[in-house]
């Protein structure tokens, strides 16, 4: 390691702090706004420190029944987002690990054909096929259902590819040892493959949970009724700059509530997430 002068380290710290201020400021400022009264928010500039309305605003938004968007409470929106994010994360992990298992640990006719069939979907993100996919949803009566929110987003090649890559690093002898030890496909999967994949599963869970939580275009399309909205969509519907009676302090609270769950997931599961992210995308 090359010795560094003290001043350079100080500069590095300073730049980092400025960087973090930029990165964290919009979120922090929203938090500040969520603790102010409506009147204070409407009179810029806002103070740099939180105000005294924290409990009042959060209570009002969560239980007061006023933070309703089209008659739906914030709790309902949060539940919808949670179901969607969890559904996508769990569903995607489940179907991908199974298909990767089939592709790596079995030999059968058309194996590579199926692999490519899945692989090519990398090139078809939801955004480029929205209209026809929407039509499929209408035909299958999946508008305004959780199934409709979740199902089209859970088949993706990335998770399958990640598991496949990981499975291919498992030595053939391990499976052979298990077979000699009397383990069939199910036991091998449950006793050996799943425990060995723990880190990968955790990392994917974080990435997919966030993917699900932050979805916008898809929930916008497949939900018509307000009580199927996700928190992100609900929030968008709350905001109107033209409308004088937008309750900005409650919007800010909702905003914080929409940001908090995925941020918590990322920060708490940081180690797996970082490893998973850097590995998945390569």
């Amino acid at each position: 390691m090359i010795g560094q002068s003290r001043s350079r380290t100080v500069v590095a710290h300073l730049v980092m702090i400025v960087g973090i201020l930029i990165v964290a400021f919009p979120i922090y400022y929203t938090f500040v706004a969520s603790t102010l009264t409506l009147r204070e928010i409407l009179r810029p500039p806002l103070p740099l420190l939180p105000g005294g309305e924290f409990f009042h605003n959060y209570y009002a938004a969560l239980f007061g029944g006023i933070g309703r968007i089209g008659g739906v409470g914030v709790d309902r929106l949060l539940i919808n987002s949670t179901i969607m994010a969890l559904g996508i994360a769990v569903g995607k992990i489940a179907i991908s690990i199974l298909s990767a298992y089939a592709i790596v640990f079995f030999r059968f006719p058309l194996r590579m054909f199926f692999f490519w069939t899945i692989f090519i979907t990398l090139m078809l993100p939801v955004e480029v096929r929205i209209l026809p996919t929407y039509k499929v949803m209408v035909d299958l009566n999946l508008i305004d259902t959780y199934t409709g929110l979740i199902l089209p987003l859970i088949a993706s090649a990335t998770a399958t590819l990640l598991f496949r890559q990981f499975f291919m690093t498992i030595p053939a002898e391990l499976l052979e040892a298990a077979r000699v030890d009397g383990a069939g496909p199910w036991r091998f999967f449950k006793d050996i493959l799943l425990p060995l994949s723990r880190t990968n599963i955790a990392a994917l869970f974080v990435i997919l949970f966030i993917y699900g939580w932050t979805q916008y275009l898809w929930p916008l399309l497949v939900t018509n009724s307000n009580d199927m909205n996700t928190i992100v969509i609900g929030l968008r519907k709350m905001i109107s700059f033209a409308d004088a009676d937008t309750e900005w302090h409650l919007v800010m609270v909702t905003c914080m509530l929409a940001i908090l769950p995925p941020v918590l997931v990322v920060v708490l599961m940081q180690r797996w997430f970082v490893r998973g992210l850097v590995e998945t995308e390569k």
């Binding site: 209209l131 800010m252 905003c255």
Partner: protein, 294 residues
């Protein structure tokens, strides 16, 4: 020679693959085929009949001034977003690499925006910069600058670029930090012994060695700016003012769902697919190269 380490079962693998294949067929291939098919048809104004028009939709789309406008918007938006998000991330990662104490804390603070939905990122920035009540808008105006992104197209563009780049900094930061850590210390030391100063070391040793990661991030950031930023635009500008911030994806949505021009929207989808395929191909060449570099 043979498949070692596999189970001899014949039927089971098909069952294991079935869920993913079923979903893939219903929600990927069927709609993609529909898009292709639709792009060759044109519906009458009442949506009652449609007829085969060959490539006419594509011809029309590609000669439409509004499509060319949104292509231009997309390119400006994507390049600006990718470059600023990457430049800031690289600067911060280089600084973080020099810091021993507190690196973990900085990382924790840096990764927040990754978890924020693009649409919410847009709303946060709009909250700070909207002309009626935004604190920064207020400060800009008090310096005499006429700031109104809801009326001024260029300012609207700057705002969505800022929001989009802001959200992507954390992602790039994580990759640049990983990349910097994988550069062998001995190389830097050798350069120092050769008399290269810190700035010179960065541009002659570190930056070239980061090239593969930089290139990878460029592809990822471009894809992000193309597709994942729909929420930002929808929440902040709605493609406006005028059509100043209408990107390609936004236009597909707008023409298909708001204006109900099915053939045109489908043709645009197909063009987008071609762009994704090109981007994926580029990405794959990169992956291949990485393998060679070991």
């Amino acid at each position: 020679m043979t498949a070692r380490g596999t189970f001899p079962h014949r039927l089971l693998p098909y069952l294991l693959l079935a869920p993913q294949l079923a979903i893939t067929l219903v929600f990927f291939y069927w709609p993609a085929a529909q898009a292709l098919y639709q792009s060759l048809l044109r519906e009458d104004p009442f949506g009652l009949k449609s007829r085969f028009v060959g490539l006419a939709n594509f011809r029309r789309v590609l000669s439409e001034p509004s499509y060319l406008n949104s292509l231009e918007v997309t390119v400006i938006f994507s390049v600006a977003t990718a470059v600023s998000a990457m430049a800031i991330a690289l600067l911060l990662a280089t600084m973080a690499d020099k810091i021993v104490k507190g690196r973990g804390l900085y990382r924790t603070l840096m990764i927040w925006p990754y978890a924020v939905a693009p649409a919410i990122a847009g709303m946060l920035w709009l909250f700070l910069f909207n002309p009626t009540m935004g604190t920064f808008a207020y400060m800009l105006r008090s310096t005499g600058y006429n700031w109104d992104p809801l009326l001024n197209g260029n300012q609207a563009m700057v705002l969505i670029i800022a929001a989009a780049a802001w959200k992507q900094i954390s992602y790039n930061f994580l990759f640049f930090v990983a990349g910097l850590q994988s550069i062998p210390r001995t190389l830097i030391e050798a350069a120092a012994i050769d008399g290269a100063g810190e700035t010179k070391r960065f541009w002659t040793i570190v930056f070239p060695l980061l090239a593969p990661i930089t290139f990878f991030l460029l592809v990822i950031n471009t894809t992000y700016a193309f597709f994942d930023t729909f929420g930002i635009i929808h929440a902040v500008t709605g493609g406006g003012p005028g059509k100043a911030t209408e990107t390609l994806v936004y236009k597909v949505y707008n023409d298909g769902f708001v204006n109900l021009q099915l053939g045109s929207s489908a043709a645009q989808s197909v063009i987008l697919m071609i762009i994704v395929i090109a981007l994926t191909a580029v990405q794959f060449r990169y992956v291949e190269k990485r393998v060679h570099y070991g």
